[in-house]
Point group: C2
């Protein structure tokens, strides 16, 4: 490992959902890729260490995008006029089919990884497509960029067009197993995650076979849950024995418990579903912009936190239009206010503190001790430079951070570290 | 006037709320500051005219921000945790009081006008503060920037802190009259608009006196209406004879009819209020991001359009966080989808076409024939350069424009014209 070093600057990090620790002109010790202490001044005993001096800038934990579709990056900001199921058939499936062509995948994934690298995201849980070669290409690019990610080759074998469908369950499982083995051999911080698209696009036997594969290789799982009302009705028809959508995954053995599992959206999860997610330790990937753009609704994210559910934030590109987790924080706060005003005053709007927690520590936990500068956390850090956002008077560090959520773009990301590695 | 000239590029402009005219590689003739024809190729008879060649770029009408607070620009993206009335007292009034200091105003307004100039906005209806010198300073900056705007010295003499209150009705009227006369003498495309802050901050006698001043100088009016439920209740108490909020303005003779009038928000306007706005020709400044950030709700903007009300789009900085009208379009579409999903399925989500219409032609009408490239419209134009947003395949002009709404920032604004004057 590298020598220990200091990051110097204005430090802001969550220590709980409701608390942002703030240290103006602080010193953050990085040792073995981990946060090893936050200091008001450099301790005498560390006088000899290197210092990366970002005085005047904000240093925050790297953010975790808990749900994003790499192949959809190419049509972000387009086709925002449909609900989920029509949107999939009209825009998404035709686009994803193009990733059979590796030269198309090369151009599109290069663009995605480049933008992701320039963002505040240090960790991500990513859907690829069903195509094995393109998925490995994406993983190679992510590995080279130095980000820490889970990537899923998508599984789907029904209710999707012939041009984007796995031919048989056997073929799907053979491909998936090959992909798991090869990616584990090739990559160190880019890991495979089992990715059945969602119940409607996977037959029962595919789900059971994936569940066996999951156990064989001790894999985590990601999928979609209770995003859209039409989708939920459809799942009831497809899995008549399930008590609710999440129960369908659970019956297939694909809903967490002894292994990590992420479900994106959970906009319409009822109490029983939330209860089961709590018991199974399922992570919710809250995707507020996507849920607005596809007119799905707004998940009661404050309720999730209050109930002790695992929940993080997600861009869900291309349901969401942008890779920026800062923008995802903005949308999370805004959507929660409309949910409160228009639907249900029993769940308060999301505070800035909680939005920051979701983007950093909430989702980061899926990767272990990630998303804070508390001792022992992975040293994922982002340096924000807000000097270009002129202001006629001094601002507190908290105010500067809040402003970044609404105003920052990639020009404000001055440096980025993943487990102590400088990746930008 | 200047010689006629052509703008060449991909032209997109509304001809109605539901129609975007699109001409790939078109020629737009500008004569006497007005659009004088759109052509597929340069007509022979105009062979000698200058051509500003933006081939490959998108050329759209300039956008009208129908409601924005210049002094609040300095705290955009801050203090997003309160509803309207607390927000005013906690953040807004203290900030606005600083504009008594001309050196503060100089720095803050310079920042606002610079950013506005770099945006897609060519026209705006702007609130200043109650301070006369700072308001004239702002107007001078806007005049110099070449934008076409209405600016209001704010009137407020009750329910606001002593440090931000006009001392007496007589003094308020004297100041306002001086400001009207001086600004009319000094500026050609920066015009005064009467600006009572809103009913709660203006006594009855101030409102009546403003109404007389309005008639004497034939002034337009701008204010706020039915933004927040607490505010509406308060107006009921303050004006017990009014049938609804808008009726209170109407009883003071400050609700349009024979003169132009803009009311911002109208989130909670009931049928009677909408009916009166229709009869009086009142313009609604739809401010979706602000209405999210302050948890006010979502105005039924499609209903406004269907009923034939005048409606345009607004950023409402600093209720809104950003000066970008493209972002305001995004928020308008997103908010309308949540309104549809969470509150009222009788009002459909806003289409992309309608959002574009609101940002250009809808609000532009307040300035006359503004916001389109139809013959005779003022030549307000913005050139969008999306080359930096790489895409793995060709996109239609409409798709490129849609994408700009979600992804563009000031780097994508390549040039801007107001009434044929190049201002960027």
């Amino acid at each position: 490992m590298h020598e220990p070093f200091f990051l110097r600057g204005t430090l802001l990090y969550s220590s709980s959902p409701d608390t942002i620790e703030i240290l103006d002109d602080g010193w953050l010790l990085c040792r073995d890729g981990k946060a090893a202490g936050v200091f008001r001044s450099r301790p005498e005993r560390f006088a000899g260490l290197d210092v990366l001096d970002y005085t005047g800038k904000l240093i925050i934990p790297g953010m975790t995008d808990l749900h994003v579709h790499a192949p959809q990056f190419s049509f972000r900001g387009l086709g925002m006029d449909l609900e989920l199921l029509d949107w999939l058939n009209t825009y998404t499936f035709p686009e994803e089919s193009k990733y059979e062509d590796l030269s198309y995948a090369e151009a599109a994934y290069e663009s995605f990884v480049t933008r992701l690298t320039r963002s505040t995201t240090t960790r991500a849980c990513i859907f690829a497509t069903l195509h094995l070669p393109a998925t490995l290409l994406l993983m190679q690019k992510l590995e080279d960029a130095g980000l820490s990610t889970y990537v899923g080759k998508v599984n789907m074998n029904r209710n999707c067009p012939g041009y984007l469908r796995e031919i048989s369950t056997n073929q799907a499982i053979r491909d998936t197993e090959r992909w798991v083995v090869e990616s584990r051999e090739r990559f160190s911080h880019t890991k495979p995650i089992l990715t059945p698209r969602f119940i409607p696009s996977c037959t029962d036997d595919l789900m059971y076979a994936l569940s066996r594969l999951r156990a064989k290789y001790d894999l985590p799982v990601q999928s979609h849950l209770s995003e859209n009302l039409g989708e939920i009705e459809w799942v009831k028809e497809l899995c008549p024995r399930s008590k609710f959508y999440g129960d369908a995954y659970d019956q297939f053995g694909m809903f967490g418990g002894g292994y990590p599992c992420i479900m994106a959206h959970c906009v319409h999860s009822n109490d029983a579903e939330q209860e089961l997610m709590l018991r199974r330790g399922v992570y919710i990937a809250h995707s507020p912009e996507s849920n607005m753009n596809l007119a799905s609704g707004v998940a009661p994210v404050n309720q999730f936190i209050d109930r002790g559910l695992h929940v993080g934030l997600a861009t869900d590109v291309a349901g969401g239009s942008h890779e920026s987790m800062l923008r995802a924080m903005m949308h999370a706060i805004q959507a929660s206010k409309l949910r409160w005003r228009l639907l249900d005053q029993s769940v308060r709007p999301l505070s800035f503190e909680r939005a920051f927690y979701l983007a950093t520590m909430g989702g980061g936990q899926f990767f272990g001790k990630v998303g804070s500068f508390l001792d022992g956390y992975e040293l994922d850090a982002v340096v924000l430079d807000d000097a270009g956002l002129e202001h006629p008077q001094p601002l507190s560090a908290r105010a500067r951070l809040e402003r970044m959520v609404y105003l920052a773009d990639e020009r404000n990301i001055a440096a980025k570290f993943v487990s102590g590695r400088k990746v930008l």
